[in-house]
């Protein structure tokens, strides 16, 4: 019950639902204003110029408008949904401009065949796991995760970026995961295990 209502109360979720239900341009603008400055940072972190970043935002919001009806708050929170849109559009724009890559984002994440949405995966749970995980990290540790996601850096590249030995990078994450392990035993134990073995 409380989980249901928290999914509904999430302000970004509400905005996307309003756009889907009534083509609400006020909600659309509000969503744009709260998220586009972050999407711009993301794109620039991934290597886009300011101009390319805005082109990417434009493509994303056109997609948000058209695909808002496919947003399922039980499957993913709005911020994760937006993340997947910007991630995918970035791949497709890169492909267009470089004109040599062949893979489009729809190859990697094909639209569901039947049009039926994944049934209630635990979106809230996932978001909580992700949040707990990230917020439990020190600034240094978080920087590493950030580099993997936004800059596509390998662990050794991260080490040389930060001017630290690879072993230090690995052990920083391992320590972070240990700390988290005591924070939330049940739900994220497996995540801790995999991250510890990964880094």
């Amino acid at each position: 019950m409380s989980e249901q209502s928290s999914v509904k109360l999430n302000p970004l979720n509400q905005l996307v639902i309003k756009i889907a239900e009534s083509q609400d341009r006020v909600a659309f603008k509000e969503l744009f204003e709260s998220v586009s400055p972050k999407l711009k940072s993301y794109a620039m972190q991934c290597g886009s110029s300011a101009h390319e970043a805005e082109e990417l935002i434009q493509e994303c919001f056109i997609t948000v408008w058209r695909k808002a009806h496919t947003f399922n708050p039980n499957a993913a929170s709005a911020i994760t949904w937006l993340y997947t849109i910007v991630r995918n559009k970035r791949i497709d724009l890169l492909r267009k401009t470089k004109n040599k890559e062949f893979v489009i984002s729809d190859d990697l994440w094909p639209e569901p065949e039947t049009g039926c949405l994944e049934n209630d995966v635990e979106s809230d749970l996932n978001q909580n796991i992700a949040r707990t995980l990230l917020h439990g990290l020190s600034q240094e540790q978080r920087q590493i995760v950030y580099k993997v996601y936004f800059e596509g850096k390998s662990h050794s590249e991260i080490a040389s970026d930060l001017g630290e030995p690879l072993g230090t990078i690995k052990s920083r994450l391992r320590l972070a995961m240990k700390k988290l392990d005591s924070l939330a035993k049940e739900n994220i134990t497996w995540l801790i295990i995999i991250l510890v073995t990964t880094y």
Partner: protein, 211 residues
């Protein structure tokens, strides 16, 4: 349900959108039929969402929202529907011209046939392989990494037995000798690290499995 999965490293890179290449297609092909990896990548996507949530803000040009509004009523680009072929994972389907049984295999050896996939680049070389039922390939080691996804049949080597959907990563430390199971041919989607300098050697032409 698959028993062999992509490493968490790969799943994270995939979820971060950093594998828009043949390896990404293979990971996606595995995930399509693997609930376990779907679950993981959902969480890894949520981490992406959280990172976006926490990122600093960069000022956006004031005219941008207006530009977006002016384009909302334009007709969307027409999307060519994705073909669907029996036995081919959907992420791979756009790069195939038909179902598995219609592939025009090439190769000199009776036990091993191959088909080049049009998704090779200067990093990865992507092919389909068919090992005939009950046949064993010569023992070999790899230069670089090799990734294999079983599409049909089964095969085994000294490290294990692999069934449809299994994702196997081997590196250059491993010597192996794949053998298809006796009752059916085994078809695999395979990717090797392919720096430009290594492609097209005579040896490779003779036996694509020996690198």
């Amino acid at each position: 349900m698959a028993n062999y999965h992509p490493s968490n490293d790969l799943l994270i890179e995939f979820s971060a959108g950093k594998l828009p290449n043949a390896l990404g297609i293979m990971v996606a092909s595995h995930i399509e039929n693997c609930a376990e990896c779907q679950k993981k990548t959902n969480i890894f996507a949520s981490i992406g969402g959280e990172l976006i949530n926490d990122i600093h803000q960069t000022d956006v040009n004031e005219a941008l929202f207006g530009n977006i509004l002016s384009q909302l009523d334009k007709d969307p680009e027409i999307i060519i529907p994705r073909p669907s072929y029996k036995g081919i994972p959907r992420p791979l389907s756009r790069f195939m011209s038909g179902p598995l049984e219609n592939i025009k295999w090439r190769g000199y050896a009776r036990s091993l046939k191959e088909y080049n996939l049009p998704i090779s680049d200067n990093q990865y070389n992507a092919k389909l392989y068919k090992i005939s039922a009950g046949k064993k390939l010569p023992e070999h080691t790899h230069k670089g990494n090799e990734y294999t996804l079983v599409l049909s049949g089964k095969f085994s080597d000294n490290a294990g037995c692999y069934d449809i959907g299994d994702f196997i990563a081997t590196d250059n430390a491993i010597t192996h000798q794949p053998k298809a199971w006796t009752n059916s041919d085994c078809i695999c989607f395979a990717i090797v690290d392919a720096p430009l300098t290594m492609t097209g050697t005579f040896g490779k032409l003779l036996n694509p499995f020996i690198r």
